[in-house]
């Protein structure tokens, strides 16, 4: 599935992709969505359960502008 299609179908969800294709700017161009959930912890659980061969995790939606991080 192309990224534009994924964006429309899985808005505001975390998605786990396999068979990921990346463009030259390292943006996801396409992949197969094997799981989606609004909570990223659930995506990690599924990642460890399925162990896809070529995967990525992405949030489909807008990241809050006011996110504040201190690591």
């Amino acid at each position: 599935m192309k990224w534009d299609q994924i964006k429309k179908k899985y808005t505001d969800n975390w998605i786990l992709l396999e068979d990921v294709q990346i463009d030259e700017d390292m943006y996801i161009s396409e992949g197969k969505v094997i799981y989606f959930h609004p909570n990223k912890e659930e995506i990690y659980k599924k990642l460890l359960e399925l162990k896809p061969k070529r995967s990525a995790i992405e949030f489909v939606g807008n990241i809050p502008e006011d996110i504040a991080v201190m690591l």
């Binding site: 390292m26 460890l48 809050p64």
Partner: protein, 135 residues
Amino acid sequence: MKIYRTRRNGKLMAVRAYLKGPEAEHFPRLLIDTGSTYTIIGKEILKAIGCSLATSSRQKCIVAASGYMDIPSVQVERFNCLGQHLENMFVLAHTFPSSTYIDGLLGMDFLSKYVLEIRPKSGDIVRCRIQSPSR
């Protein structure tokens, strides 16, 4: 010269990287972090690509905002980011809160190897071909 457009996480900048482990490959999203000595990857991702944390004999003592932490260090077969790749790179394994929207940190152990211009206003990272002389 190559310009990479980062994805903004609020005021922060993140890029997609590539990891290859013994069993699988993953493309984590990493925060550009010039304040981190090491590149750090989420534990779940390292486990999923077959890097065992349990058998890791290397630990690094890290000074974080919350105090000192001993963090396992594991070797990935291949690491690629910003058009550069490294073989058998050591990365640290840690858990990141999901609210950070990232899978790890791209630290100075990687960034300092290359001539990169980080442009916080535009969110671009420019990779220059000319390498700086060793110091």
